[in-house]
Symmetry: C2
Subunit: 87 residues, 2 copies
Amino acid sequence: MYVIMVYDVTEDKVSKVLKSARKYLNWIQNSVLEGEITEAKLFQLKKEISDIIEKDKDSVIFYVLPTKKNMVKDVMGILKKEQDFFI
Amino acid sequence: MYVIMVYDVTEDKVSKVLKSARKYLNWIQNSVLEGEITEAKLFQLKKEISDIIEKDKDSVIFYVLPTKKNMVKDVMGILKKEQDFFI
């Protein structure tokens, strides 16, 4: 499956969330990561994130697609580093 | 079509980008908007964004899906306002 993860967490948790997410996904842009991931790994990632964030303050969203095949990714401006660019 | 838009722009442009994007999409989280949009409106939105951003400094990504039908949106933590929540 293919996942786009976006996070909006308090500053003290940003580096922890990022460190955890980077083990599984590619960093795309400030607060955005994406990548191919197995269901088991996604479960693991969610568990890690759940241990880091405060559920009444932070927000992390996973957009989960069965495949990236039908998605078009349109980048305006610069391509940040570490991108898994696929258009 | 369904679009997830993420932006990473210099601070002086954040409110302009947000104001423009909000005319077409729903604000979801810091730097993230999403929503159903027609091809014509998306073209218009991209034109507006293109007029605001500096292509060597800023980055705006549009993930374009033919439909949101196959996408699962998994929210951890709080749901920010203005969400078009569909799970």
